[in-house]
């Protein structure tokens, strides 16, 4: 228990988890305690895991194109159940879809080819932001 708890989640039916596993390991190496959910999680499953683990950050990976349906639902479930976890999103998210997702409460969106250092930097900023704002 050396750092904030993070959940990396594969939301929806997408089976590509190379990136999710890389990001999970990167957070672990940076000193965070990390849980990777495994594939095919529904928004309800991820929200439950976030509450059970008392996660401070949920990193969602999704490359299937279902983000506009599943991500807002996850955000709603987290909020309804009293979780203030920061939500980051990574995957194939077309530029046209990003503003609505950011407005709905996603803290940052990362695309394929993102450097792990920039994900870490965004995470630190987002986590600081919540603790300052709380």
């Amino acid at each position: 228990m050396i750092g904030p708890r993070i959940i990396i989640a594969k939301l929806g039916l997408d089976g590509h988890d190379r990136g999710a596993k890389i990001v999970a390991r990167m957070f672990r190496d940076a000193g965070y305690e990390v849980m990777y959910t495994g594939l095919r999680q529904t928004p309800a499953m991820v929200a439950t895991a976030a509450l059970q683990e008392d996660a401070e950050l949920v990193g969602v990976s999704l490359l299937s194109g279902a983000h506009n349906t599943l991500v807002p639902e996850l955000l709603r479930l987290l909020k309804e159940n009293g979780s203030d976890a920061v939500v980051l999103l990574g995957g194939i998210i077309p530029a046209a879809d990003r503003p609505a997702l950011l407005d709905a409460g996603v803290a940052a969106i990362f695309e394929p080819g993102e450097q792990t250092e920039s994900i870490l930097a965004a995470t630190r900023a987002a986590l600081d932001g919540t603790s300052v704002g709380a």
Partner: protein, 530 residues
């Protein structure tokens, strides 16, 4: 003096300066088309005809996918691969709660055989050189769709040339569209293989997949090693059922990636053929003439970047070159916009043109295994063969690829490799142009827009499923599903019962649901890292 053009000039037999070349070069004991097939499965691979060009297409709906496939056939594509959406590949109907937001996103939805009819409407399947599809956990459903479609059209399904992917084992460690636990998945795949050998002898019922292993971040050794390890699992099970491997082997393919490291890739294809032929000969006693490995290659997706997407067109062209220099039988190419989303019409046509330019303008078809005998490529071929042998032996010492999968070892081995590669890329040790080499943040971002899938598609597909359910005989569906459950429980081959259910317009979700009652469902396991 008058100069006349030579109408008999054959660019596949002569260089552009008119120098005639033989179909292959080298000493007599290095003849391609003979055991162990390192140099290729035929003496003359591409002169008579090119490799089969067939792209992976599917999105939104059966109807839209039909138009995309037709437009590529009109542009000279010889075969095609049907991209299925994730609910279909995962055995879920389009109205399943888990399918929400996913219908038609990464491929076409197929709920019932009526969707297959719309998908292939107006396409003369007997004239298509190769029909492929990404049915893995649902391998027998793909058989059933095409068999029942042929019945409805009044044609012989053996007149179709079908290559099924049907390799479910790799789904548990890469790609992820599994449904049942691995042992049941393996059985379902081999049911398909056994059924096809008996009833559909012209079909090719399985591809042993290394591509997805590679695309999940591993190297060429792991790619071919896992494909061979999984092949042994399927073939051993086929042997237990009395299938002759001598008869089956020539009807299988290996599915390998074509990456950017051109010479290593060429060596990989050569080593894979050599390893396959010795595996067939030594483990299964296959006759030498049946030991040639047919390769389907797809350009590797993971090197494509979202930064400066037009660069990807160049990457795909080099990847395609490596597959052809490596002697592949079928080639699919990606499109430059695939790091952004599904490919646009323009991008897929460029992808097909990339193959056509390679085939018709560059002279690569002239000589089989043109790099054979190169010190560099021969040395790499030998070294890859050695390393892959060690990898396969290691899987064997763990009890085989299925045991290595079930213990979680395989998944960890692949993800270790992916993480290492990521760190190497970030440190600039692995250069990527436009990312860590020559990245220019002052330039405007690319104008390439992601191809958008219509949001209304999901509701339309659910309506089609409801209409299909309304017109069928519910009693006949229930009877067919009950017989399928009984076959699954008894150990009988399930494929005839899947076909009966599909004929009665049972849906994908109903068929997989019936089987799950007997076999159970595979659940994802969480990893804790600290």
């Amino acid at each position: 003096m008058t100069v006349t053009p030579d109408d008999d000039f054959d660019p596949t037999a002569n260089t552009s300066s008119g120098i005639p070349v033989p179909p292959w070069s080298g000493p007599a004991d290095a003849k391609p088309g003979t055991y162990p097939y390192t140099r290729g499965i035929a003496e003359d691979l591409y002169r008579q005809d090119t490799w089969v060009m067939g792209l992976y297409s599917g999105y939104a709906s059966p109807r839209e996918t039909n138009l995309r496939i037709k437009s590529l056939l009109a542009a000279g594509q010889k075969g095609f691969s049907i991209a299925l959406d994730l609910p279909t590949q995962s055995g879920l109907d389009s109205d399943d709660s888990k399918a929400r937001g996913e219908v038609g996103r990464v491929g076409t939805p197929i709920d019932t055989v009526l969707d297959v009819e719309s998908l292939l409407d107006g396409i003369d399947l007997s004239n298509v050189a190769q029909i492929r599809t990404t049915a893995n956990a649902i391998g027998p459903l793909a058989v059933a769709w095409l068999v029942v479609l042929a019945e409805r059209q009044g044609v012989d399904p053996n007149s179709f040339r079908v290559l099924l992917q049907n390799d479910v084992l790799k789904e548990y460690v890469a790609r992820g569209t599994y449904i049942f636990p691995p042992a049941a998945g393996l059985r379902f795949s081999v049911d398909t293989v056994e059924y096809c050998r008996k009833q559909l002898p012209h079909w090719e019922p399985i591809e042993f997949c290394g591509y997805h292993i590679r695309d999940s971040g591993s190297n060429a050794v792991q790619e071919v090693g896992v494909a061979l390890g999984n092949a042994i699992e399927y073939l051993d099970e086929a042997v237990r059922r009395g299938v002759s491997i001598d008869d089956l082997a020539p009807h299988t393919f290996m599915f390998l990636s074509a990456g950017l490291d051109i010479f290593e890739e060429v060596a990989k294809f050569r080593a894979a053929r050599r390893l396959w032929s010795s595996l067939m000969r030594e483990r299964y006693g296959v006759a030498p003439e049946n030991c040639g490995l047919k390769i389907f290659s797809y350009t590797l997706g993971s090197p494509l970047t979202s930064a400066e997407p037009l660069n990807n067109a160049v990457r795909v062209a080099y990847e395609a070159l490596s597959a052809v220099l490596g002697g592949a039988q079928t080639l699919a190419t990606s499109s430059f916009d695939e790091a952004l989303g599904l490919p646009s019409e323009e991008a897929v046509h460029l992808s097909l043109r990339t193959q056509q330019i390679l085939a018709h303008e560059t002279g690569v078809r002239r000589s089989t295994d043109p790099l054979g005998g190169s010190y560099h490529v021969e040395e790499l071929t030998d070294e890859l063969e050695r390393r892959i042998t060690v990898y396969v032996d290691n899987l064997h010492s763990m009890g085989g690829a299925l045991a290595a999968l079930e213990s979680g070892w395989l998944s960890r081995d692949l993800s270790d490799a992916a993480y290492r590669m990521q760190l190497e890329t970030e440190r600039g040790v692995r250069p990527v142009v436009g990312v860590n080499v020559g990245a220019d943040t002052t330039r405007a971002r690319s104008e390439v827009r992601a191809f958008a899938i219509r949001d209304e598609g999901e509701g339309e597909q659910v309506a089609r499923l409801e209409a299909a359910r309304a017109r069928r005989d519910e009693h006949a569906v229930a009877t067919a599903l009950a017989k399928l459950r009984a076959a699954a429980a008894s150990g009988e081959n399930t494929v005839p019962y899947v076909i009966d259910a599909v004929r009665e317009i049972a849906s994908v979700g109903e068929i997989c649901g019936a089987l799950a009652e007997v076999w159970g469902l595979e659940e994802a396991a969480a990893w804790h890292l600290s």
